[in-house]
């Protein structure tokens, strides 16, 4: 039987013992010089052996034993590597063939799948029930934060007659509801063609959108749609969804600072994530129903969108794109229909003019 020269550390001190190593059926034998006062004699079974580095011909091989985890054996002889490979082939398995690596890969894949599932299905489903749990006081604070962020830099348009006209429109719609929510409706001096519903009944219409309307009924339709979002508590659901997604991405990237700044990001998150199709459909349905009950024409909404659509390729196209993109396809809205109504106008001419020029 051949012996191989090696160096042994017993794991109790850093001393180096020169030893002879043998490979036989029982296991790996380690024996030191008989005169050595600290006599070394070990028999390591092949199943307990562990390689410290990936084996290579040109570097000394390092070994340890799971029953004596602090001890180290180091061999310089290339012949030993071949001998060990024959006796203990399980040490030389690579990649996925190694049981631990395979197990870890399965765990990682599984957790990855779970995270994707949670983001895709869990977060949207949970956001509704969670939103209902949020106390009103909270919602009001969140609403105020989001509104301030949205309005940052933009003036709130207020003109006695114009504001009165807007309030009149809002009152007319809320009167038609069984349990009217408390609403804060305002116009902001921004050129974008857009309107937003935010937590706690905050609704902001941009000047750009107001300018694109051609009748008070169209403004009423936009307002009814946004009230629909408020009624279904969509804004808060979005905030919850944003929080959930933010939390998961933080978990993945491990970026704690992002989590810490989450409060400040709330407004941004809300704007980044537009309402999904289902929410828009719900708001549309609610809006149409509300208009009908308030004795206002439901066709105005369809008309307004059709006009925006036609204008879209024109110069300030991208302004309009934003609003259209987040809403159901026009064809779908047309199909949903909307009859002309021969009721009284939503606002008289004077009030309508005041509303159109509220920002001037």
């Amino acid at each position: 039987m051949t012996g191989y020269r090696g160096e042994f550390n017993d794991g109790r001190t850093a001393a180096r013992h020169l030893v002879m190593v043998t490979l036989d059926d029982k296991g790996l034998g380690i024996v030191s010089d008989p005169d050595n006062p600290a006599r070394i004699e070990r028999l390591w079974s092949y199943s307990d052996l562990r390689l410290i580095d990936p084996p290579r011909k040109d570097t000394p091989l390092r070994l340890t034993n799971s029953n004596e985890a602090d001890a180290r054996l180091r061999l310089h002889d290339g012949g030993f590597l071949d001998g060990l490979q024959q006796r203990a082939p399980h040490l030389f398995l690579r990649g996925l063939a190694r049981p631990r690596v395979r197990r870890n890969a399965i765990i990682v894949l599984l957790s990855f799948f779970l995270v994707v599932l949670f983001l895709w299905q869990g977060v949207p489903r949970l956001s509704g029930p969670l939103a209902r749990l949020v106390p009103l006081e909270w919602e009001q604070k969140i609403g105020a934060i989001v509104r301030d962020r949205l309005l940052a830099g933009a003036q709130r348009c207020e003109a006695g007659a114009g504001t009165a006209a807007l309030d009149e429109l809002t009152r007319r719609l809320t009167l038609a509801m069984a349990a009217p929510p408390s609403l804060t409706v305002m116009v902001a001096d921004r050129g974008m063609v857009n309107a937003f519903a935010m937590p706690a009944g905050n609704i902001v219409i941009f000047r750009g959108l107001l300018k694109s309307t051609e009748s008070p009924e169209e403004v009423a339709a936009v307002l009814a749609h946004e009230i629909g979002h408020v009624y279904h508590r969509h804004p808060l659901q979005l905030a919850m969804r944003g929080l959930g997604i933010g939390m998961v991405t933080d978990l993945l990237t491990g970026d704690g600072s992002a989590l810490v700044e989450l409060a400040g990001e709330l407004g941004g998150l809300l704007l980044l994530l537009s309402y999904n199709r289902d929410m828009e459909r719900q708001a549309d349905e609610f809006g149409r129903d509300l208009l009908r009950r308030a004795d206002l024409p439901t066709g105005a909404m369809t008309r307004f969108f059709a006009r925006l659509h036609k204008k879209m390729p024109s110069t300030n196209g991208d302004n309009i794109l934003g609003y259209l993109n987040s809403h159901p396809p026009l064809e779908e809205r047309m199909a949903a229909g909307g009859e002309e109504h021969a009721g009284p106008p939503a606002l008289d001419d004077e009030a309508w003019r005041a509303l159109k020029t509220i920002c001037d």
């Binding site: 012996g3 020269r5 794991g11 850093a14 020169l18 580095d53 969140i142 491990g254 970026d255």
Partner: protein
């Protein structure tokens, strides 16, 4: 099979003196050893050497990058471990390689624990505060101050705990390292020293560096043996004073130039008639803003001195250290590492780690007789998971 066995070079158990082993005795023992072992057993000078090569690191880095992208960076714990295994086993002390025994799973567990026990509660509290407190109120200001103090404290803690984890997973000849102090106490020092440094316009910085280094090194163990730090403050303050006043002069120069140019610009545009004299208050504020940046320009010079001074003031058993870092090669190292990071979008970080490792191994000289046989295994408790905090705050070079 026993005929060619040699004898061990010195065995701690056979010796009775606890002081340093006479070196001639060691040599005598080596001399009577069997010829067969002379090749392995020749005495080697205590020297640190990094033999890693970028070519060998490349496949690891490429594989890690791919998996990081595929797993949305969750793989980073395992990838980091593979890089460390490589860097450690290529680091040789007295011709014998180090060993890294940490695992990706331990890092992942550490991360999860910190995320759920610290980051999530902190984030929630911060969220609640910004919803409930009026941004202009004193309560909010007090809350914010406390919040950032807590973050600073956690950063100090993270530095210490990451080091504890790494040392406990670092072995040489089977003996592992350890940190034996309290991370909370270190974090308090860290917080206080930084507060002092800011309040003193930087003047407490050398004191902090020496104080924190001393604390960390004296609580560092290899096996059961401690490091000793006797570095003084005097020589560092001499360098720092030159840098600080140099920065002040340079800062004033830049400041004056900016003032002159902006005033001239305003005069040209007809906005100001003649040269407007800036008020003392705005000048002061501007100077305070400029000063740190100018101080940074001098930093490499001070830093090089600091490395050398701290190393020279450190000893381990009967061994002393010397470092010869110079401004130019330190700047070169920093600059190229930065270039690598920028050009590889951060994925090339392991290469910068290899370069830094190699640089410091090459620059460090160890002298004196090291009585290795006396070093016993560490009995300090080793953490079961690691570095969650350091990961959260993006700390730690390796």
């Amino acid at each position: 099979m026993h005929e060619s066995l040699g004898r061990s070079i010195g065995t701690g158990a056979a010796l009775t003196t606890t002081d340093s082993l006479p070196s001639n005795r060691l040599r005598a023992k080596t001399a009577i050893m069997n010829d067969d072992f002379s090749a392995i057993a020749r005495s080697v000078p205590p020297r640190l050497e990094q033999r890693g090569r970028a070519v060998e690191l490349l496949p690891i880095v490429l594989f890690n990058t791919l998996l990081n992208i595929l797993t949305m960076s969750i793989y980073r714990f395992w990838g980091k471990t593979r890089v460390r295994q490589y860097l450690w086993r290529q680091t040789h002390f007295m011709d014998e390689p180090l060993e890294y025994t940490g695992s990706g799973g331990e890092l992942f567990k550490g991360f999860l624990a910190v995320f759920f026990l610290i980051l999530l509660p902190l984030g929630t509290i911060n969220n609640l505060a910004s919803v409930y407190l009026d941004p202009d109120s004193t309560e909010f200001i007090v809350f914010n101050a406390l919040f950032y103090l807590a973050i600073f404290f956690l950063v100090g803690m993270a530095i210490y705990r990451a080091r504890r984890y790494r040392l406990s997973r670092t072995r040489w000849r089977g003996i592992r390292g350890a940190m034996v102090g309290s991370s909370a106490q270190y974090a308090i020092r860290y917080l206080m020293f930084w507060a002092l440094t800011l309040a003193s316009l930087g003047w407490a910085y050398p004191w902090m560096q020496v104080g924190l280094f001393k604390r960390i090194m004296e609580e560092t163990r290899f096996g059961d043996r401690a490091f000793r730090v006797t570095a003084t403050l005097g020589p560092l303050y001499r360098v720092f004073a030159i840098c600080w006043f140099g920065a002040l002069v340079l800062g004033l120069g830049i400041f004056a130039a900016i003032e002159y140019l902006t005033t001239a610009q305003l005069v040209i545009e007809g906005m100001v008639e003649g040269a407007a004299v800036p008020s003392w208050i705005s000048s002061g504020i501007m100077l305070v803003v400029i000063l740190p940046f100018v101080l940074m320009l001098w930093m490499p010079w001070y830093k090089a001195q600091e490395f050398n001074h701290l190393a020279a003031g450190t000893s381990f058993m009967a061994v002393s250290f010397r470092m010869d870092v110079t401004v130019w090669n330190l700047t070169g190292l920093t600059f190229f590492n930065l270039a690598i990071l920028v050009l590889t979008l951060g994925f090339g970080q392991p290469f910068t780690q290899l370069r830094t490792f190699r640089y410091f191994c090459r620059r460090l000289q160890i002298s004196g007789e090291l009585d290795i046989d006396w070093i016993q295994q560490s009995n300090a408790a080793a953490p079961t998971m690691g570095e969650g905090l350091a990961d959260a705050f993006d700390l730690g070079a390796v």
